[in-house]
Symmetry: C2
Subunit: 396 residues, 2 copies
C-alpha cells in the first residue's frame, strides 16, 4: 500500500472588534475596509483539522466536517487548494528528493468543538485550520502572514485566525490582493486578562448570509461609504493604540461604536438587513447598566452577522460582568467547567442592574439558549492527534 501523509492542527475562532463588512473584490475576498479582532481561546472554541494525501485515495479531493461530507468544488475552497499546491510544487521543483504531494488527492477531516449551528464564526476557524493543516502537510515554510492571504480567499475573516492575540487585517490596495493580509497587533500574552462571555441567542432562523448581505450594503447603503472611508480608518488607529496601552475603556467604547456602525449600515441597506433582535437589544441594555453601575466602562458588547452577543471584559471584573450574566442566566448550558463554576456575581452590582431592567432580564432569560465563557487565546497549534488513521480512514 502507498504511503499516507498526514498533518494536524487546531485553529481558533476570532470575534472582530472592528468589523469586516463589504468586499471591493468578491472573488478574492478583498475588503472595503481594514478590520481587527480578538482571537479566542481554543479550549473553548476551535476547529481541529487533519489534512492528508496519498496516491491510493480516490482522485477527488474531499472534506469531512463533523462527520458530514462537504462540497469542495466551490471557488473558495478550490482557491485555497490551488494556492497551497502551487507553493508545494515550488518546493518540489527545487528539491527533487521531496515526494510529489502536490500531485496527490487531498483528504481532509475537520471537527469543531462547538455547535456549528450556534451562529459563531465557524468558517473563520474552519478555513484557517484547513489552510494551516495543508501547509503543515506540505511542510511549507510560509509565515502566518503568507497563509493569511490564502485563508482570506476561503473566508475573509479566516485570515485573522492564523494569529493568536489581537489581530488586524490590512485591507490593502493591490488589485491581486497581495497586500490584503493579517498581522498581529499584539500577542495574547501582551494583554492576557481579556475575557469574553458569549450569549448564544436562539434565532428562529438564520438571516441574510453575510456574503449576500455585505454586497447589498455596498450597493445600496448611502451611509456605507463614509463608514469605510472615514470611520473605520480612524477607529483602526484608536483600537491599535488602545491595545498597545491596554486601555480597556477606549477598547470597549470603540468596540461598541463599531458594532453599532456596522449594524447601522445593515439597517441602511435596501431592503434593510436586521441581525439584532429584541434579545440582542436586551444584552446591550444590560451592558450599559453594568457600566453605569461600575461608574466606568468595564464591559463591551459586539455583534457579528447574527443576534448573539459577545461581551468583552477584563478578568478582574469577572464578578461584575460574567457574574452578572450568570445571576440572570445561571440555568443555561455553558457555566459548567472549571472557569464557569468559579464565576460568581457581585451581589451589590447585580441588584442595581437587575432591578432596573426587568424587561431586558426577561428577554434574556427567554431568548438566550446557552453561554460560552472564553477569553483571548493563541493562534493555530500543530498537534499530534490525527483525525485520519494510518489506513487513511477518518476516526473520531
Amino acid at each position: 500500500m502507498s504511503e499516507i501523509y498526514r498533518a494536524s492542527t487546531t485553529a481558533p475562532v476570532n470575534i472582530a472588534v472592528i468589523k469586516y463588512w463589504g468586499k471591493r473584490d468578491p472573488k478574492l475576498n478583498l475588503p472595503t475596509n481594514s478590520s481587527l479582532s480578538v482571537t479566542l481561546a481554543q479550549s473553548d472554541l476551535r476547529t481541529h483539522t487533519t489534512a492528508s494525501c496519498a496516491s491510493a485515495y480516490p482522485a477527488e479531493d474531499s472534506l469531512l466536517l463533523n462527520g458530514s461530507p462537504q462540497d469542495v468544488s466551490g471557488a473558495r475552497t478550490q482557491a485555497c487548494f490551488r494556492e497551497l499546491r502551487a507553493l508545494r510544487k515550488e518546493l518540489e521543483s527545487k528539491n527533487n528528493g521531496l515526494p510529489k504531494l502536490s500531485e496527490l488527492p487531498l483528504k481532509i477531516v475537520s471537527e469543531n468543538n462547538f455547535p456549528t449551528a450556534a451562529g459563531l464564526a465557524s468558517s473563520a476557524a474552519g478555513f484557517a485550520a484547513l489552510v494551516r493543516a495543508i501547509a503543515n502537510l506540505y511542510e511549507l515554510p510560509s509565515s502566518p502572514t503568507d497563509l493569511s492571504r490564502i485563508a482570506r480567499q476561503g473566508s475573509g475573516s479566516a485570515c485573522r485566525s492564523l494569529f493568536g492575540g489581537y489581530v488586524g487585517w490590512e485591507q490593502g490596495t493591490a488589485a491581486d490582493g497581495s497586500d490584503s493580509k493579517a498581522f498581529q497587533v499584539a500577542p495574547a500574552s501582551h494583554w492576557p486578562n481579556m475575557r469574553a462571555v458569549i450569549l448564544v441567542v436562539s434565532a428562529a432562523k438564520k438571516g441574510v448570509s453575510s456574503t449576500t448581505g455585505m454586497q447589498t450594503t455596498v450597493a445600496t447603503s448611502s451611509l456605507f461609504a463614509s463608514r469605510a472611508s472615514e470611520t473605520v480608518p480612524r477607529r483602526m488607529q484608536e483600537m491599535q493604540k488602545a491595545i498597545q496601552d491596554k486601555d480597556f475603556e477606549t477598547f470597549a467604547k470603540v468596540t461598541m461604536m463599531d458594532s453599532n456602525s456596522f449594524h447601522a449600515t445593515c439597517l441602511d441597506t435596501y431592503p434593510p438587513i436586521f441581525y439584532l433582535n429584541d434579545v440582542s437589544r436586551a444584552a446591550i441594555k444590560i451592558v450599559e447598566s453594568i457600566n453605569e453601575a461600575a461608574g466606568k466602562i468595564i464591559a463591551a458588547y459586539t455583534f457579528d452577522a447574527g443576534p448573539n452577543a459577545v461581551v468583552y471584559y477584563l478578568e478582574e471584573n469577572e464578578k461584575e460582568v460574567a457574574g452578572l450574566f450568570k445571576s440572570i442566566l445561571g440555568e443555561k448550558e455553558g457555566w459548567a467547567g472549571e472557569r464557569g463554576q468559579t464565576v460568581t456575581a457581585n451581589n451589590e452590582a447585580r441588584d442595581k442592574v437587575v432591578v432596573d431592567n426587568a424587561v431586558a432580564v426577561g428577554l434574556l432569560e427567554e431568548g438566550v439558549s446557552r453561554v460560552i465563557l472564553t477569553g483571548v487565546g493563541e493562534g493555530p497549534i500543530k498537534i499530534e492527534k490525527s483525525l485520519i488513521n494510518e489506513k487513511g480512514e477518518p476516526v473520531s
Copy 2:
C-alpha cells in the same frame, strides 16, 4: 363683564417620508436637513384648539389639553406666544380702532381626537393648532408659511402641519431661522388617493425623547453627517419629483430608505438609540412580502421616533395592503367606522403573504394594540365649534 374674544381651528398630524432628525440650532429648532411629510386626514387624527383672550382672565396665560392644565412657561410655547403677540401689536399700532388683544392674557383649550399616549406626532398637530388658533384670534394676515416659522419654534415638525397635502420643510441657512419654513409641494387634491394604515405598537415604555435623541446623534454618530449633507438633499429632490409625477414606486422606495437611514443613524448614536423593535421589524417583513406578492412596490413603511408602523399605499391597492393587515389584525380596535368596514383582503395575495410569514404574523398579532386607517388630508381648518364658552369657561 369685559368682552371675551375667541377663535377656533383644527390642525392635522403629519407623518414624514423624509425625516427631520438633528438640530443645527436647538433654541430656534433649526434642522440639520430639510424634510417632507404627508398631512393626514383630520377626520382620523386632529387637534381642535380654541384660543381666547379677555381682560377678565387671570393674568397668566393658560393651556388646557384634553382636560389637563399644561405648563406654558417653557421656552417653546413662550416663543410662539411672543411672536404672535408681536404680530398683533404691529396691527394694533397701525390701526388704533383695533382692540388691544396683544395685552390680554390668553386662555387656550385643546382636544385631540386620538390617544396622546399612542406615540403619534401629537406635538406637531398641537403646536400647529395653537399657532393657527391664536393667529385667527388676532386676525393676523400671516400666510401659512409665515406661521410655519412660528410653529417650528414650538415643535420642529409642527411647521409642516400648517399645510395640507404634501409638505416640505426647507432647512434654510439664515442664523435667525427666517428661511427655515414649510412649503406645500402639492395639495391633497393633486394625489388624493394616498392612504395610510398606522399600526400602533404597544411599547413597554417611551424610549429616548426625540429632542434628546437627535442631539446625541448629531454629537456622536459618525454616519450622520453624510446623511444630512448628501443623502437627504438628494432624496428631497427625488421625493418632490415622485409626488409631482404621482410615481408611487419611487415615493415608496425613497420613503422606506429614508426611514431606514434615519433609524440607522439612531443605531450609530452612542449610546445607541433603538426605536424599532421586533414588532416593527415584523411590519417591515410583511410590507416586503406584500410588495413581492404584488410584483411591484404598492406599500411603504415608515417609522418615527417609536415602534409604530405607518404604511402608505394607494386606494386602488387597499385590498392588498390595508386588507392584508386586516386579515391579520381584524380583531384589533380601529377597523370600525365607514372606511374600515369596507376594507377586505385580496384572499390570494393574503394567502401568499401570511403563509410565508408565520413568525412575523404572530409578532404583529401579539404586539399591535390598534390600527388607524387614514389618508392624505387638508391643512388647518377654521371652525365655529368653540371649546371655550361665552363666559370664558372650557367646554367639551
